[in-house]
């Protein structure tokens, strides 16, 4: 059964620190012979050479919702532009939103969670972050925006790999993985990436939250990867395992929880809602596949900061392990509080 959300116009968010190659990727998407038409929403309108009929300049105007929640910010300009674009429905197949190099992707994503009109017509497909293999490691140290963009990404295009040695590449990848082990990572030169790897990902489609395993065993990886669930180092330290370094980012990290015992929905739901209400500023992304007691359906949820959406996805299959798995990516996550809270939701 096709998901009704797939009939809405997909919106891909393209982020990346200054100079990483966002415009190169955008031009690649637009110039490739794919037979699709894109509406492109850009910043620095008119200053970059993009050849496209439907190109709209945006001002990245973020405002706080009047609901007392400081992280409930949305992109007002995006609401307006998407509304205007809907007048030209049928003239394009998908929308690409390019953010500035210093932008936080959260308000863009939250716009799709809170705005009724946006939700009616469009769906967020994925956050694609272009990263510069040569300079990302430095930026992760001095630019909080760069770290945010990596943490938030569904897809990371690690660009300019021709400008670094194998060892440097391994180092920057390890740093990325220390922050976000779940994004799909593609190594590129001049953003040469298959369009199917960056577009139509369905990363925010609840029906496609099938698996939330780390992206370590991806085909095409020429490294021997190790289980990441091990002791983490301290600030500035790193440690090698068979040639691949593991970094623990002191500020931004991911937290994975799992249990093969059923969760009590009357405990879990209030816990999750309270958690994002109290710690939502720290939690950038969350995702989960849940097995509840006395429930034959898989329940899936995802969230951005304090905003959550969830639904029953499908029946657990015969013989399928009824396992609950959750992932949080965030800043200074209160790990023990989250682990203890989660434990208390497991039926005894």
């Amino acid at each position: 059964m096709p998901s009704p959300t797939l009939q809405k116009i997909p919106v891909t968010v393209l982020t990346g620190y200054l100079g990483a190659g966002k415009t190169t990727l955008l031009n690649r998407i637009l110039s490739e012979n794919h037979g699709k038409k894109y509406a492109v929403i850009v910043n620095e309108f008119g200053e970059i050479g993009i050849d496209n009929d439907l190109i709209i300049g945006a001002d990245e105007e973020v405002f706080e919702m009047n609901n007392g929640c400081v992280c409930c910010t949305v992109r007002g300009d995006l609401v307006r532009i998407l509304d205007g674009l809907m007048k030209r429905k049928g003239k394009f197949d998908a929308i690409i939103v390019e953010t500035t190099g210093l932008a936080d992707p959260a308000p863009v994503a939250q716009t799709f969670f809170v705005d009724e009109d946006v939700q009616k017509n469009a769906r967020l497909d994925a956050v694609v972050t272009v990263a510069d293999a040569k300079w990302l490691s430095d930026r992760l140290k001095d630019a909080p925006e760069a770290k945010n963009q990596i943490a938030f990404a569904d897809v990371i295009v690690l660009n300019k790999t021709d400008l670094v040695s194998k060892a440097e590449l391994a180092e920057v990848e390890a740093r990325i993985r220390g922050i976000n082990p779940y994004a799909k990572l593609h190594r590129t030169e001049r953003c040469k990436v298959k369009l199917s790897d960056v577009l139509e990902r369905g990363a925010f489609d609840l029906d496609r939250i099938l698996d939330i395993e780390p992206d370590f065993l991806e085909a095409g990886s020429d490294h021997e990867h190790h289980d990441h669930d091990h002791h983490h180092g301290h600030d500035g330290h790193d440690h090698g395992h068979g040639g691949l370094k593991h970094y623990h980012d002191e500020e931004m990290q991911s937290l994975a929880l799992r249990t093969d015992k059923p969760l009590d929905p009357t405990k879990f739901m209030p816990w999750l809602q309270n958690l994002v209400a109290s710690e939502g500023q720290k939690i950038l992304r969350s995702k989960g596949i849940l097995a509840f007691s006395d429930d034959d359906d898989r329940y899936v949820f995802q969230g951005v900061h304090m905003m959550l959406e969830g639904d029953h996805q499908r029946k657990w299959k015969e013989g399928e392990a009824r396992e609950s798995r959750l992932v949080f990516i965030g800043r200074e996550l209160p790990e023990q509080i989250i682990r203890d809270g989660f434990e208390s939701c497991i039926t005894s």
Binding site: F45, G57, M65, N67, G76, V79, R80, R88
Partner: protein
């Protein structure tokens, strides 16, 4: 509670058989009357002028989407995503009034009875006086809505965190009415005493202009996209709920401390409202395609169009109040002579 399931249809007066269908065949974004011709402004490119007999003539006005429209009865001024501000007069003649050099979208437009026109592109608001002088003013954030005050040359510019009252012909600095949030549509009350904005969240905000006292008008389940002053300006009818929400403005305090009236509730969201120009009647279009005429005094309803189609996109009365024009999002439209 009204219900238009087949079994109950006899319980409500209906004028559906008097509606003249008009096949616009394309999405409609607004309707205005130019004399007795109804101008159905398309979502893209053209306007369909429909005479009382149902004859259609099409005029191309923009090279893309039509984002905003305003009319004074003699002309319609429209802004497009082609960066142009275009005018259509009653003879069907088109003129380009302005072209944005950067081809930015023209997001908002407003007309003053003396011939002045205001428009906006991004953060910049423009006013061209009746004598043809242009003035511009840069706002702190993107303009969400524009309205001329009924008296004098004063423009209300809605944006983030409030409304700027701009006097294009005066050296005095503009007045700023502050209220946190994103303000979209803006209207003055016909008596010039109140200013009301629609907000990004499902609420209206208002100011009493004499003392800038705030009026919070909230409780809507959805964003308010349509507002219409009743004849004489004693009340403001609004969309956004599953009934027409009508706020009282007859007293000097406006709706402060008062409850709104809820008229014509259905199991569908009110999408568009249009008050009759002379009588205390309004037309309401719903998300399920229903159109009702409603008497403000007692909420008595007359069915104009049945449910079961696309959302109603636009409604308009002619100046005399003898014709009601409507269009749904799928381009199905009609004229109702009264």
């Amino acid at each position: 509670m009204s219900d238009f399931e087949p079994g109950d249809q006899a319980s409500i007066a209906s004028v559906t058989d008097r509606v003249r269908p008009v096949a616009i065949g394309a999405a409609v974004t607004a309707i205005h009357f130019l004399g007795d011709r109804a101008a159905f402004v398309g979502a893209e490119e053209s306007v369909a002028l429909v005479d009382a007999e149902g004859g259609i003539s099409r005029v191309t006005v923009h090279g893309g989407g039509i984002l905003c429209t305003s009319s004074d009865g003699a002309r319609i001024v429209m802004g497009g995503d082609d960066g142009k501000l275009a005018e259509l007069n009653g003879k069907g003649e088109v003129a380009v009034l302005a072209t944005d050099p950067k081809r930015r979208w023209i997001d908002n437009v407003a007309l003053h009875p003396d011939g002045a026109v205001a428009w906006s592109a991004g953060k910049t608001a423009f006013v061209r006086s009746g004598k043809g002088e242009d003035k511009t003013f840069d706002m702190p954030s993107t303009v969400g809505g524009l309205a001329f005050a009924p008296k004098g040359l004063r423009v209300a510019v809605a944006h983030y965190n409030g409304v700027t009252l701009w006097f294009p012909n005066m050296a005095a600095s503009p007045e700023f009415l502050e209220w946190a949030g994103s303000h979209l549509g803006v209207v003055f009350s016909p008596d010039n005493k109140f200013l009301v904005t629609t907000m990004h969240e499902p609420a209206l905000h208002g100011w009493r202009l004499a003392d800038n006292r705030h009026m919070r008008m909230s409780g809507y389940p959805g964003r308010v996209k349509s507002m219409s002053w009743s004849a004489g300006g004693k009340s403001l009818a609004t969309s956004g709920a599953d009934a027409v929400i009508v706020w009282p403005f007859a007293s000097k305090d406006g709706p402060m401390g008062k409850e709104p009236t809820m008229l014509a509730p259905l199991q569908a969201r009110v999408a568009v409202v249009a008050c009759h120009p002379k009588q205390d009647i309004l037309a309401a279009g719903y998300s399920d395609g229903t159109i009702l005429m409603v008497r403000l005094e007692d909420g008595a309803e007359i069915l104009v169009r049945r449910n079961g189609t696309a959302e109603v996109a636009a409604l308009a009365w002619n100046a005399k109040g003898t014709l009601l024009a409507f269009a749904a999002e799928d381009g199905e439209a009609g004229l109702l002579p009264l």
